[in-house]
């Protein structure tokens, strides 16, 4: 039942927040905080409760599971289940959900109830995506995230919000429909071959089909996930959406929504279409490498703070794509760590960018400079997360990128070498960001208010999480390894990237 609560609590809290807006603007905030806070607490309890036996490979695939028949005629189940991979992503959702509510505390003053309603429904959808093991259910949640996100950007966003929201919606909707086609086709192919019509992921994994069919269906799933990831050249919705969204929107987009793409590849593309994915791997790796370098190069060219951070996501998620399709245990561990660490560090950078915009009313880095004198705490935090984002050892992102590179080298040294140059460019943009905003001569005369208690508390949580993963990655690695073992255990066609 726990798993149902994970989805239902934020869903109900969202509705309650909307209603409560009638009485006070404070109510929706507290209700939202409590709603997603409960989810975080449940996830943490699951995490601690399952350390040890349940995480050992072979002890059964799921840490928790609920499977109820829903629409019998079509073989649709309410099947929620959670393993190490899902658990980590639910934890991330809970944590960043709480922080996203905190980050909106003073920024959002308009239609507060509706805002938190949208926010919590996105989170509820995300948790559904990360726990649904029935493809129909999965698709339901996948679509459920989009509409509130569209409104979140379109209503509470910045200057070009309508354009950005529409672009976001179109990209994800088009790709989502591709996936729907693939899901339905897979359902039918499986039903024809075995006589059982089901949407259950585990059952579908063994579907006998021609390699051509497998290839096309794999592409349908891959397309949807690649847009979300985002993979170059399907990424152009991202800079606009991230830049125009309100802080909480940017945080949820960068830290959580993008992760559904990576999650989908790990959960569906690799297990359902093992051979097709293996033969597609060289292409995916090349596209991942391009993403790493291209995203970093574009980030370096930006002058808008949020746009810069947005492009860094393209670069960092490129590492995830490489790691997933390199397919070695080490590279997959790296990809999962990167999913988490990118969520934490980029979320933090968007919160900081939002804090700066709230105070300075600009995101143009050319109009900042010398802010350290007024706001040393903000400067120190920006420096910390910029360094985390460029992969400083001792912080989580380094472990992630190092594992991806070390695990990919045996598959393709060339890809590894090219991808590693992204690390140089990431240094350039990270340091440039810090320099442009905080160093050099003072620009302008307005005094900048430094981070307050609420903001510092937010930052402290994220700092602690990144340091923890950096110094003790084992806690994440051990949680994820049974899931990875299942992905890698079945025989695969050996692949070699060019």
């Amino acid at each position: 039942m726990t798993l149902v609560w994970l989805v239902v609590v934020p869903f109900v809290a969202g509705a309650a927040a909307w209603v409560a807006d009638r009485w006070s603007h404070a109510w929706p905030r507290w209700i939202a905080l409590a709603g997603i806070g409960i989810d975080l607490a449940i996830a943490v309890t699951l995490w601690f409760g399952t350390s040890g036996a349940a995480l050992v490979p072979g002890a059964g695939p799921w840490l928790a599971e609920i499977d109820v028949r829903w629409i019998d005629a079509l073989g649709i189940h309410l099947h929620f289940a959670i393993d190490g991979l899902s658990l980590l992503l639910v934890l991330l959702t809970g944590l960043l959900g709480v922080l996203a509510v905190a980050a909106s505390w003073t920024e959002i003053q308009d239609r507060v109830g509706a805002f938190h309603f949208q926010l919590l429904w996105i989170l509820s959808g995300l948790i559904g995506v990360f726990t649904a093991m029935d493809l129909f259910l999965f698709y339901f949640f996948w679509e459920m995230m989009l509409v509130p996100m569209f409104f979140l950007i379109g209503i509470w966003g910045h200057e070009r919000r309508i354009y950005a929201a529409t672009k976001f919606f179109l990209f994800t909707q088009v790709s989502g429909l591709l996936m729907l086609i693939a899901i339905v086709a897979l359902y039918i192919v499986h039903g024809r071959a075995t006589g059982t019509y089901t949407f259950d992921v585990t059952a579908l994994a063994g579907t006998p089909m021609s390699s051509t069919m497998s290839w096309w269906l794999m592409l349908g799933f891959f397309g949807a996930f690649a847009v979300k990831l985002p993979m170059v050249p399907l990424h152009t919705w991202l800079p606009d959406a991230h830049t125009e969204a309100p802080t909480a929107g940017s945080v949820v987009l960068a830290s959580l929504l993008l992760k559904t793409g990576a999650y989908g590849m790990l959960r569906f593309v690799l297990p359902l279409f093992r051979d097709a994915a293996a033969s597609f791997a060289p292409v995916a790796i090349v596209l991942g490498v391009i993403g790493v370098v291209y995203g970093a190069a574009l980030a370096f060219g930006q002058t808008d703070l949020k746009r810069l951070v947005a492009y860094t996501s393209v670069s960092h998620m490129g590492f995830v794509l490489i790691g997933i399709f390199a397919g070695t245990t080490i590279a997959l561990q790296g990809a999962i760590l990167q999913i988490l660490c990118h969520g934490l560090s980029t979320g933090a950078l968007f919160i900081l960018a939002g804090a700066m915009q709230e105070r300075l009313h600009t995101r143009e880095m050319g109009r900042m400079g010398g802010l350290w004198a007024d706001a040393p705490r903000m400067g120190g935090m920006t420096l910390f997360f910029a360094l985390a984002s460029m992969g400083l050892p001792g912080l989580g992102n380094f472990i992630a990128e190092f594992l991806v590179l070390a695990g990919t080298y045996r598959v393709s040294p060339i890809a590894t070498i090219v991808a590693s140059t992204g690390l140089i460019v990431s240094t350039v943009y990270a340091l440039w960001l810090v320099q442009a905003a905080f160093q050099g001569p003072r620009h302008g005369t307005a005094r900048l208010r430094d981070l307050g208690v609420r903001e510092m508390a937010t930052m402290a949580v994220l700092v602690a999480a990144l340091v923890w993963i950096g110094l003790y990655p084992q806690s994440v690695v051990d949680t994820a390894s049974p899931a990875i073992a299942r992905i890698t255990s079945a025989p695969r066609v050996a692949s070699r990237a060019p």
Binding site: L177, L298, G301, G370, I399, L403, T408, P473
Partner: protein, 667 residues
């Protein structure tokens, strides 16, 4: 409890970084200094334990495993610290000289506000912690933590006065150039792991020892070249040396600690730590030796014409690091580390001495505005002179022994050309160092201490204003550091007397030797090791070489005396005669300009103009928008377009889905 060695400075960092801004300067400075002094104490006891230990696998060592850092699949990286002969030299230098520099800084940085003072010391302590992790590591990834960490601290400290644009830029440049090298390090790790399945130094050495020496380009050569790329970044060698001269924007004690004594030697240490690996890749060693030698020469020539006192020292550091790489490249690992160790004393002292001068002159760094300071700054002058004699290779001073060993080994290994270039560089070293001493401490003061007016007199010209105003020599905290380092600059070399003079006199070589071998117990036939070429030259030849070095050093001093003490106008005349060459050197061979034109600007243009506005906004979005227009056109035909494209899209896809699903159900 080896973890205490880096832990003390790390705690110092945490305290000063969190509550330091509220502490008075006395407290935060004392705290930071005491943290490193404690670490020095622990280091001493650890070295004592190491010396008393029974050799395991042929080497004395103590080690502690703190915990398992990363374990994933076949990758296993424990966080282990280890003191063996090689790392013992390093930790003593870092904590010992580091403590002195901390002490010196308490006086040097005294004009900063409380919060800036605390920020400075928190960075300095953090640096020491990372540097200690770097040298105590037993695996590549743990070393890399220290390796990147010191780069970070270097960035923070070079850009310490970041409201100044040049300082902020210099810090950034240092970090970026370092990261170029670090990518080499990371790829080297990936290659090592893929080849050997381990990232442990000793395990790698044991496996490599069983392999034949790689005569042609192969995996060992590739790996070692990647690591050497990392080394050129950290240790400021061609082609990545360009950040170090700019790094002089940082406070002077930082230059002494990071950019002279410790961090910049990390690349040399990296090769020493992996001596077995590098010995099996002779092609790489050749590259290392040639690059080291060229860097030494190039930096030495630039040092001849610079007028900023710290920049001369910076190029001198680049040049001396080149000597160390020359030693590593010819396989004389002991000699390289020996020079690293003596250099730490005299170069730290030179920087601290220049800091005392700058401090006395309230920030003046141009030697053309100095002169005659030996009377007013006697402590600074005498200690500085000791260090200058040491670096110039004057017999009986520390630098003589270590530099001479490098040249002798280079000659003995048959690299006669490299030896000749090294010898010529030694000649240049003596010239530029004594030029610096003469311009700074001799002659008359060329500008009043208080005013900059008329300060732009010609180089070394005797005209200008007479000495005026009373200058203060180094205050006690600074003077103590200077004097102790001066003793080191004179005496540190006596652990490595040439065997040709005193039989068995080169104790440091014998002490370090076991660190450069694969663990014996690994079941590897010792004979398979690359034969340790004991100096094949007779002691007669060695004595002759030594005499030659002495003559060269004295010759250099003589040339400097003639041109920069007795007849400064002659130096100007020579500079005027060869004005093209002079300009070339003054502009540092235009390398920065070259990099700017070939690398920095094209990439900037590529990323903003071509990729962003061209590909991203133009090509990709353009394609998408065009698709949108086509759809919109179709929709218009179908009269579906009523409220904008969202609905049109959704509708068209819905239809599409229905059609496809229907098709399958029909079949």
């Amino acid at each position: 409890m080896l973890i205490l060695i880096p832990l003390f400075p790390f705690l110092g960092f945490l305290i000063n970084a969190s509550v330091g801004r509220r502490l008075p300067k006395r407290v935060s400075g004392a705290l930071a200094t005491a943290a490193l002094a404690l670490s020095f104490g622990v280091a001493l006891s650890a070295v004592a334990r190491m010396l008393a230990a029974t050799p395991v696998d042929g080497v004395r060592a103590v080690q502690d495993t703190v915990y398992t850092w990363i374990a994933s699949g076949s990758l296993h990286v424990p966080f282990t610290l280890r003191v063996d002969p090689l790392s013992s030299v390093m930790i003593l230098v870092i904590t010992g000289i580091g403590t002195l520099i901390h002490l010196y800084s308490t006086a040097y940085m005294h004009d900063e506000t409380d919060s800036e003072f605390a920020r400075y010391f928190s960075y300095l302590n953090l640096f020491a912690a990372f540097m200690l992790v770097l040298v105590l590591a037993t695996t590549f990834p743990v070393m890399f933590v220290g390796w990147e960490g010191v780069g970070l601290c270097s960035y923070l400290l070079v850009g310490f006065w970041f409201t100044k644009q040049t300082a902020s830029d210099a810090g950034k440049k240092a970090f970026i150039v370092n990261r170029v090298g670090d990518v080499g390090f990371i790829l080297g790790m990936a290659a090592i792991f893929t080849t050997f399945g381990t990232l442990d130094f000793q395990e790698v050495a044991a496996r490599v020892a069983g392999m034949p020496i790689e005569a042609s380009f192969g995996i060992l050569t590739l790996t070692t070249l990647l690591f050497f790329l990392g080394a050129t970044g950290k240790s400021a060698q061609i082609p990545l040396y360009i950040w170090l001269p700019d790094a002089m924007e940082g406070p002077t004690p930082v230059s002494a600690l990071i950019h002279a004594a410790t961090m910049v030697t990390a690349g040399v240490y990296l090769i020493g730590r992996n001596a077995v690996l590098f010995s099996h890749a002779p092609i790489t060693l050749e590259v290392v030796a040639v690059i080291g030698c060229l860097t030494a020469l190039m930096a030495g020539t630039i040092g001849l014409v610079q007028n900023d006192i710290k920049r001369v020292l910076a190029y001198s550091t680049v040049s001396q690091l080149g000597y160390m790489f020359l030693a590593m490249g010819v396989g004389a690992f002991g000699a390289g580390i020996f020079h690293l160790y003596t250099h730490a004393f005299f170069k730290a002292l030179l920087f601290l001495g220049s800091g005392a001068v700058i401090h006395a002159l309230h920030g003046e760094q141009d030697m053309r505005h100095m002169g005659g300071l030996r009377r007013e700054l006697p402590v600074t002058y005498w200690t500085f002179l000791m260090a200058t004699l040491a670096i110039s290779g004057v017999p009986l001073f520390s630098g003589f022994f270590s530099k001479d060993e490098i040249l002798a080994e280079t000659f003995a290994h048959g690299h006669v050309v490299l030896w000749a270039v090294g010898l010529f560089t030694a000649f240049l070293t003596a010239i530029y160092m004594f030029r610096l001493v003469y311009m700074t401490f001799f002659g008359e003061r060329r500008t009043p201490a208080t005013a900059d007016a008329g300060a732009h007199g010609h180089a070394a010209a005797g005209h200008g204003h007479g000495a005026s105003g009373h200058l203060h020599d180094a205050p006690p905290a600074m003077a103590i550091a200077l004097v102790i380092l001066a003793v080191g600059a004179v005496a540190a070399g006596y652990v490595g007397l040439p065997n040709a003079v005193v039989s068995g006199g080169n104790r440091i070589d014998a002490f370090l030797e076991p660190s450069f071998h694969a663990p014996v117990a690994a079941g590897v036939d010792v004979a398979a090791e690359p034969a340790q070429e004991e100096s094949s030259t007779s002691s007669g030849v060695e004595l002759a070489l030594m005499g030659l070095s002495t003559l060269v050093a004295l010759g250099g001093i003589g040339v400097a005396t003639i041109f920069f003490l007795q007849r400064p106008d002659r130096a100007d005349a020579v500079a005027a005669r060869f004005s093209g060459l002079h300009r070339l050197l003054e502009h540092k061979y235009y390398v920065d300009e070259l990099y700017g034109a070939v690398i920095v600007r094209p990439i900037t243009r590529l990323s903003t103009t071509l990729l962003w506005r061209g590909v991203d906004a133009g090509l990709i979005d353009g394609t998408v928008n065009a698709t949108g227009l086509v759809v919109r056109g179709w929709s218009a035909v179908l009269r579906r377009l009523q409220t904008g494209s969202v609905r049109a899209y959704a509708m068209s896809f819905f239809v599409g889905v229905v059609v496809i699903v229907g098709y399958y159900l029909w079949q």
